[in-house]
């Protein structure tokens, strides 16, 4: 197990190195610089700025410096937020984004799995059709439209929740729902089809032949096996929630890392863009690793040994 994890961490480091490299050169290749903005900056000042941020040195020096500072978990100063480092931005924005992401992950998984199971157990009955209509809507409506719909009905018309901002738990509900809608619908469909397949398996018939009730069969035999594809989906799901948060945080005016990221892109805030990209990459790589480990716990046939098959 330990060997497996350390091996995976090594691979992660390698992927990270690639990501850092690619981001670095992509940013360089992009036209325009952080100071070539709409407002004209006098040439002397621009020269000074370039010197201050080290932009006048040859690219290989810049690249190497960047690698070293990233290894020291130092993403450098922000180009646009005066007096703030990228680390400051991350430390400040990430907890907010993390809370939002976890909340929507929780909503997406719990309600999605529940809907999928109800639909499968009532295959071709009205509960099944209702859940699937719901799921199709959730998948086909983009999150920013979902956000506006939720804001209009639940906040403006019914007044149950605040329209925007990030001040209390109440404020978190609508953005989390908007962010969760699409993954939730996807999970519902995934769970349903996986559950239908599992219910047709021989071992379900064995369980029935033992005298177990439908409820016992579902809880003890079906769900655990049906949940496996959902667990596999958790990796891409985290990525989806992460990228979804860019838009949602902007719409609801949430001071998270996502809105900082979007702002930094419009501002050509190079260090912030690169820093946040690297940070997000680490997050995603970690979540994929966690998913794989979780999978190994749920499915005993998967051995997390160092590559070789079990017995």
């Amino acid at each position: 197990m330990l060997r497996y994890i350390s091996k995976r961490l090594l691979y992660m480091l390698m992927s990270l190195f690639l990501i850092v490299t690619v981001t670095f050169f992509l940013m360089r290749a992009a036209p325009g610089g952080p100071f070539s903005s709409e407002k004209q900056v006098p040439p002397e000042i621009e020269k000074n700025l370039n010197e201050y941020y080290g932009l006048d040195r040859p690219w290989y020096i810049q690249y190497f410096d960047y690698l070293v500072s990233i290894a020291k978990w130092d993403f450098g100063p922000s180009f646009k937020y005066k007096g703030q480092t990228v680390n400051d931005l991350i430390n400040e924005g990430f907890p907010v984004s993390f809370f939002l992401g976890m909340e929507s992950l929780l909503i997406a998984i719990s309600i999605g799995v529940l809907l999928g199971i109800i639909a499968a157990l009532n295959h071709n009955k009205w509960q099944d059709y209702a859940a699937m209509v719901f799921a199709v809507l959730g998948i086909s409506v983009p999150s920013f439209i979902m956000a506006s719909i939720l804001q209009y009905f639940l906040a403006i018309k019914l007044g149950w929740f605040p329209v925007a901002r990030w001040e209390s738990l109440q404020h978190t509900v609508l953005p989390a729902l908007a962010l969760a809608a699409m993954p939730m619908a996807f999970i519902a469909r995934l769970t349903r089809s996986s559950m239908l397949e599992v219910l047709g398996n021989d071992y379900i018939r064995t369980a029935k032949a033992k005298g177990l009730s439908q409820g016992q069969i579902t809880v003890k035999h079906a769900i655990r096996n049906a949940i496996l594809p959902v667990v596999t989906y958790l990796g891409p799901l985290s990525a989806q929630i992460l990228t979804g948060s860019f838009v949602i945080e902007k719409i609801f005016g949430i001071p998270g890392l996502g809105s900082h990221f979007v702002t930094s892109i419009t501002n050509r805030d190079y260090t912030t863009i690169m820093g946040v990209t690297v940070f997000y990459s680490i997050l995603l790589l970690l979540s994929v690793l966690l998913v794989d480990i979780a999978y190994g716990f749920i499915d005993p046939r998967i051995k997390l040994a160092g590559g070789k098959k079990g017995e």
Partner: protein
């Protein structure tokens, strides 16, 4: 000896897009306490549907019990509610399925899968159930049961899994064990071991067994009586001796002739019955076996044969037993083994008129 199970005129159909598949068309048989009945027949003859209907495991819909009774200990299982059936399944009737590779839950420890039955029906606490599970694994001949009880199915070989399935089926000392082709998916040597095990277990526990197979070869070894099924009906039924040494139905002849016999090496004679079973969406008029039957007479294509009784225990449904039928010789492979049985009636008597 009392009757444990009596199936009377059972009819089971499936509603499909192609129409109604009449999988079981009026099956009747009985089983005494502690006895082993083999049900043999080619694939598709309705053996699995019959046995799963006894357990009420047929998915409904598309399946439907159209007619008949299943008297188990005098109570009709057809009339039981689902809740009542839960008390009978696993406790009074245990079942073993054909494919041990898919019949166990891959994500649950084998021991736990055995314990479930014990905890459900015996209401034992967990620790006692585990003790019993280990004991059962030992009973079915699994070495190191204390270790095996904590393993997952993928750590078991095919034969070991089938032993574990038998342990599950036996967990609460059922009065009836239904084994649906328990050895078909296994190697020949493992097959023999599993058959030995089942015989051994019956001696120890006295449970009655319905043993389903498409291979007459294994029947002589395990069964007391044999029912031969074709196209959803039982065409012949009798003691092992009656079926092997005095068979009357041409379908039974065909099965016997295609069985490799131990006392002769004439592989050339080995031939399976030509043709294939009829489509049960539109079962043919008359005797369903007629199109494949070299002895078929005109009446076989028009009227279903009546059921004849040849001895107290021997029944066959074929026009060949009718007093007016011409005398025919069974195939050579069958003729060789024929014996005169002293228990036979002087003449076969009609017990059910043709329809």
């Amino acid at each position: 000896m009392g009757k444990l199970l009596e199936v009377k005129n059972l009819e089971v159909s499936f509603q499909t897009y192609g129409g109604e598949v009449q999988a079981v068309r009026g099956v009747s048989f009985y089983l005494n306490k502690g006895e082993t009945l083999a049900i043999v027949g080619e694939s598709g003859s309705g053996k699995s549907v019959t046995s799963q209907t006894i357990m009420r495991l047929i998915p409904t819909p598309p399946g439907k019990i159209k007619n008949g009774q299943i008297l188990f200990d005098g109570e009709d299982l057809v009339k039981k509610t689902d809740k009542e059936m839960e008390q009978i399944r696993g406790r009074d009737i245990g079942m073993i399925f054909q494919d041990p590779m898919t019949s166990l839950n891959p994500t649950m420890k084998v021991g736990h899968q055995i314990m479930e039955v014990i905890m459900k029906h015996q209401k034992l606490p967990k620790s006692a159930a585990k003790e019993r599970a280990i004991e059962l694994l030992r009973l079915v001949g699994i070495p190191m049961p204390e270790k095996r009880v904590n393993q997952y199915p993928h750590e078991f070989s095919g034969g070991m899994r089938q032993r574990a399935m038998i342990a599950i089926a036996l967990a609460s000392n059922p009065k009836l064990l239904i084994a649906d082709e328990p050895t078909t998916a296994l190697d020949v040597t493992i097959q023999a071991q599993i058959l030995e095990l089942m015989k051994d277990i019956q001696k120890k526990t006295g449970t009655a067994i319905i043993f389903i197979t498409h291979d007459l070869g294994v029947v002589a070894n395990v069964a007391d009586r044999v029912a031969v099924m074709y196209a959803g009906k039982i065409v012949e039924m009798g003691t092992v001796d009656e079926i092997f040494y005095d068979p009357r139905h041409p379908y039974t002849w065909g099965l016997l002739a295609s069985m490799p016999s131990l006392d002769s090496d004439d592989k050339a004679e080995l031939a399976s019955i030509p043709g294939s079973p009829p489509d049960l969406t539109n079962p043919p008029k008359g005797d369903a076996f007629a199109p494949r039957n070299p002895y078929a007479m005109k009446i076989d294509f028009e009227m279903e044969p009546p059921l004849f009784q040849i001895s107290d225990t021997h029944y066959a449904a074929t026009w060949l037993l009718h007093p007016d039928a011409p005398k025919v010789e069974p195939p050579e492979a069958v003729k060789r083994r024929l014996r005169k049985l002293s228990t036979n009636y002087p003449q076969p008597i009609i017990v059910r008129e043709s329809e």
